[in-house]
């Protein structure tokens, strides 16, 4: 992975993402004011010394809300990717290994996931499990799992049929040994590329869901939710949506940039590799 650090786009993306993570971790500490406290005397104000980015329709400090919202939005996106990764990669690996029945069943299930309309599914899940960001992102995780499933299979398939895997099996190695030693290292890079890309997509999904008010209790700040409020009061504060939108775009861009950088680095021939 050291090679990513020599990749210009990769470095830029990592810097942006690190800054966002820092914002998410330290945000609540840095916030000058409580993001939930309303100040009826200062509604929809423009930027000032007291409120760096002004206040919203309930008089809450926008800057503090953005910082707090970073953590929620990022965590939600991470959750979706983590759920998708586990639900996609594990069956993906096993489908190459466990034989035809398991393969057939998982392929059908994954196909079904792909055809589900994601907003409807997310709404249905929150109706079923309760309206919360965790529940909504779990639903998103399920919906992106087919990507991990396919990527894992594509990377694992040639390895599972290779002679070095056969050689390992001929030493009497159990399946988990072969998976860990030979298959997983070939799958990991491909999964990493997808994870970075899907982190960006999940962030967009979090933002759209919270923008629509799905999976979020009203006072909790998220980038998408703030964008929705800002758009309602566009006339009073015309420049306000700019900041949450910029954060979303920057982070999504950085995720995609990282994915591209990883792809470049992995796709490039390694030093010393020769062809017979």
């Amino acid at each position: 992975m050291g090679a990513v650090l020599r990749h210009r786009l990769g470095v830029a993306s990592l810097v942006v993402l690190a800054a966002m993570v820092l914002l998410g971790v330290l945000g609540p500490l840095l916030a000058p004011q409580d993001p939930l406290v309303q100040d009826p005397s200062a509604l929809l104000q423009g930027p000032s010394a007291a409120h760096l980015l002004g206040t919203d329709n309930l008089g809450r400090d926008v800057f503090s809300r953005l910082l707090a919202g970073s953590r929620l939005s990022l965590l939600a996106a991470l959750e979706a990717v983590a759920v998708g990764l586990v639900l996609g990669t594990v069956p993906g690996l096993l489908s190459v290994y466990l034989g035809r029945v398991f393969e057939w069943v998982t392929l059908r299930v994954m196909d079904a996931f792909v055809t589900l309309p994601f907003l409807v599914f997310a709404v249905a899940m929150t109706a079923l499990l309760g309206n919360g960001l965790t529940q909504a992102m779990f639903a998103v995780g399920i919906l992106i799992s087919p990507v991990f499933y396919r990527v894992t299979r594509a990377a694992a398939f040639p390895v599972a049929g290779s002679q070095y895997v056969e050689a390992a099996r001929l030493t009497g190695a159990p399946a988990w040994f072969v998976l860990r030693r030979h298959v997983w290292p070939k799958v990991l890079p491909a999964v990493a590329v997808s994870a970075a890309g899907l982190l960006g997509s999940s962030l967009v999904i979090v933002s759209s869901l919270t923008f629509l008010g799905i999976g979020i209790q009203p006072p909790e700040p998220t980038w998408g939710g703030m964008l929705a409020t800002d758009l309602e009061y566009l006339y009073q504060r015309p420049t306000a949506p700019f900041v949450p939108a910029l954060l979303i775009i920057l982070t999504v861009g950085a995720c995609n940039g990282l994915a591209d950088a990883l792809r470049d680095v992995i796709g490039a021939p390694r030093g010393g590799r020769v062809r017979a």
Partner: protein, 282 residues
Amino acid sequence: MPDRTSPLLKVRDLAVSLGRGRARREILHGVDLTVRAGEIVGLIGETGSGKTTLARTVLGLNRVDRGTVRVESRPVHGLRGGALRAFRRAGAVQYVFQDPLQSLDPDLPLGRSVGEALEVRREPGIAERVADALRLVGLDPDLAGRLPGEVSGGQRQRAAIARRPVVRRAPAAAVRANRSARSTRRTRTSVLELLARLRDGNRVGQLFISHDLGSVAGVTDRVAVLYRGHVVETGPTAQVVSAPTHPYTRLLIGSAPTVDGGGLGRAERAALRAELVGKAAS
């Protein structure tokens, strides 16, 4: 203890089918083969004759329809699951792949591949034993840290062979050397020499698999000629080469490129081919 009277590997009346559903067909039709301690047996046959199928069956990678595979008198053709893994871990049968580039994990240092069998068996002193094995096949132990792509083709070939002696007890070994496309005669012969040296006194028996009798005749004690899933001829190499009885064996030997110009002429080969067609029809 293996000795001359009890064969290390004994295959009797082995029938194996491959393929699924309607495409399933019998590949080996009742094959007999014996490898004794200290002996190198050549298994020779054209593409598709069933050499790989036979080797894979001996290693427990195919199910048998009929017949037996015994390793040191113990039947192994019915082993499954844990019993099969335990048999493989014991290392009684070792396999050297034909193409070292494909049988070594490209992302794993050579030492890790060579020591894999020891790691699977959780044995101690892996590093020293890997170094010993590398020295035994004429490689610098420092190469253990290199990736397969970072050494020459000949060194890769030796590393692939070093997987075998790393296991102490290694009675029977199956070697695939067919499709000489990728190795020149010179690297191939040095590999043959190396394998012959690994006879390890008289304890190890070896099965050499090749489509070209001419390239392995000199190191084999006996040969078995496989033709369309049947062993059509078997015997001491000198006898099979100088007085072949089956028309396919005669064709095989007469077609081998030689430096002494002793091959068969075109008409003689055509006659043998006609004889084979006649045999197949009857």
